[in-house]
Amino acid sequence: MRRIESGKVLSNHKLAKGMYRMDISLPEISSEVQGPGQFISLTVGEGWQMPLRRPMSIASIENDSISIIYKIFGKGTVWLKERTSGEVIEAIGPLGNKFSLDKINGKEIILVGGGVGVAPILYLHDQLSKDNQDHLLIVGAVTAAEQFLEHSPKTGIHLTTDDGSVGEKGTVMTMLEILADKVENPYIIACGPEPMLAAIYKFTTEKGIEGQFAVESYMACGTGLCQGCVIETTKNISKEHTYHQKYSLVCSDGPVYDINAIRI
């Protein structure tokens, strides 16, 4: 069940250039979380200057608290950055669906995270690691300054940077093409900026590789009321809250979709 909850900021600190992590105490919401892919949505600013909540993927859950990893993008995320421990933030959640692992059928999982898309991917990475499920992880950024993980190909963690300042030089696609070639039966799960998803979409479609994307979309409510956050679908996958066939509501039917079910 979704809930609205005010929670104390437990910590809020810089992870890398322009990237922050905030831990918020949200016992009620965290007890309802079903898994990676789901998100919460935060009110930002004072009064109604910024009327819309900011959707943020759940990056981890620990002892009644939820962590988000966010990138400074505009005024809402700047406001988030300025919060200090002890301040109270209001959240609604958990919203949306989770990655569905039962579709993987023994295939080899390659996780791909780019930019702020790392949040749900890291949550999934942690879960798979806990369950001792083998998988590879690719995290892309422009330069080393934006990376906060350790490049560790031996343990399956591959960083990429556009300038080669850490990890493999190039985009996540460079690494993905290599790894997808190496493993027998790849299954790709990705979240990141639209150009990255578009490149993966093209790649998987050409190669006939299956997978799932967590997508982003501008939304006003996150609860199915406004019908604003639609994405175009290729088949009729609409559920209860969308009412439509051509478009699907990212907040309620998504944000996780089978790659071949949507148009990017």
Binding site: A220, C221, G224, G228, H244
Partner: protein, 306 residues
């Protein structure tokens, strides 16, 4: 304790706070946050004759204290509204008003007749006249007195239920449109629908919303709504329902003082699906603090010496 009852036509509302069309879905999406039975009423999402997918994305962008939307009347169509939604409204203990949209006079009539033909517990209809009329070269019904009058009287002939005409602020003289609706038999008018707006990303030189022109709502439009209600209530004798930017109890009082008999909460539901109930609590407190015994002490009681 203030008596919060208010009357719109023949319908008595338990309190003056309703939720606005298109901002509360079909009334069931946010069950877990909000007991709709405590609200004065629900206006359901605009329904057209056939289901509509709505406009391509992006459909939404935030603006200073507001938002722009161009949903494109995405809805399930009247057949599914009748089969899936109407039975659910029988179970509710609040006033449910159906909002109807159309792109021709015939479409409005067909939708209303389809619903009139089945037994249901709807209190009545709110007619969204901010729709382009295909037959009249795309001119909106709501910008023209004659079209408004024709539409209202055609619908009036076909229903005894509450008939509310929802007015667009994007007109030269909103009071004149309200008078046309009144003369043609409307029980009430509601105002305002969204204000035409647009937002461009200077870096990409593209519109931030697919349809370019879209509708502004939220606190940014509240003064526009209050002024519209004031102008209308000065020129008609049917009740006015105030809409636009309501986020707190005092906003309700402001609309009532300008002449509204009830209000609708829209955009605020997006931040908090229980906004209507929160606003109700605040409004109740406001009334108690100001020793208001019933709402006639507020409605239209703007003091003229500033």
């Amino acid at each position: 304790m203030t008596d919060l009852n208010t009357t719109i036509g023949s319908i008595e509302l338990k309190n003056p706070i309703l939720v606005a069309s298109g901002t509360f879905g079909y009334g069931e999406e946010c069950d877990e946050f909000s007991d709709v039975n405590q609200l004065g009423g629900i206006i359901t999402k605009s329904i057209t004759l056939h289901p509509r997918e709505g406009n391509p994305p992006p459909r939404i962008v935030e603006t200073a204290s507001g938002m722009l939307n161009s949903i494109g009347l995405a809805n399930i169509g009247v057949d599914r509204y009748i089969s899936d939604m109407l039975p659910k409204y029988d179970e509710l203990d609040t006033t449910v008003i159906m909002n109807i949209a159309g792109s021709s006079l015939t479409e409005y009539i067909n939708v209303l007749e389809a619903v009139e033909a089945v037994p249901n517990s709807l209190a009545g209809y709110e007619i969204n006249i901010s729709c382009p009329n295909v037959g009249e070269g795309g001119m909106e019904f709501g910008v023209d007195c004659d079209l408004t009058s024709q539409l209202t009287s055609e619908l009036r002939q076909r229903t005894d239920k509450l008939l509310v005409i929802k007015l667009s602020p994007n007109v030269t003289n909103i009071a004149a449109i309200a008078q046309s609706a009144e003369a043609a038999g409307a029980d009430a008018v509601s105002a305002i629908n969204t204000v035409v707006g647009m937002s461009i990303n200077p870096a990409t030189r593209k519109s931030n919303v697919y349809t370019k022109l879209c509708g502004l709502s939220g606190p940014a439009v509240k003064p526009v709504g209050v002024a519209a209600v004031y102008k209308i209530s000065q020129s008609v004798s049917i009740p006015v329902i105030g809409i636009g930017g309501i986020t707190k109890g005092e906003d309700v009082a402001e609309y009532l003082l300008a002449g509204a008999s009830a209000v609708q909460v829209g955009t605020a539901n997006f931040r908090d699906p229980a906004a209507g109930l929160q606003i109700l609590t605040e409004f109740h407190d406001f009334c108690d603090k100001n020793n208001i015994s019933d709402l006639t002490e507020l409605i239209g009681r703007l003091q003229n010496d500033t």
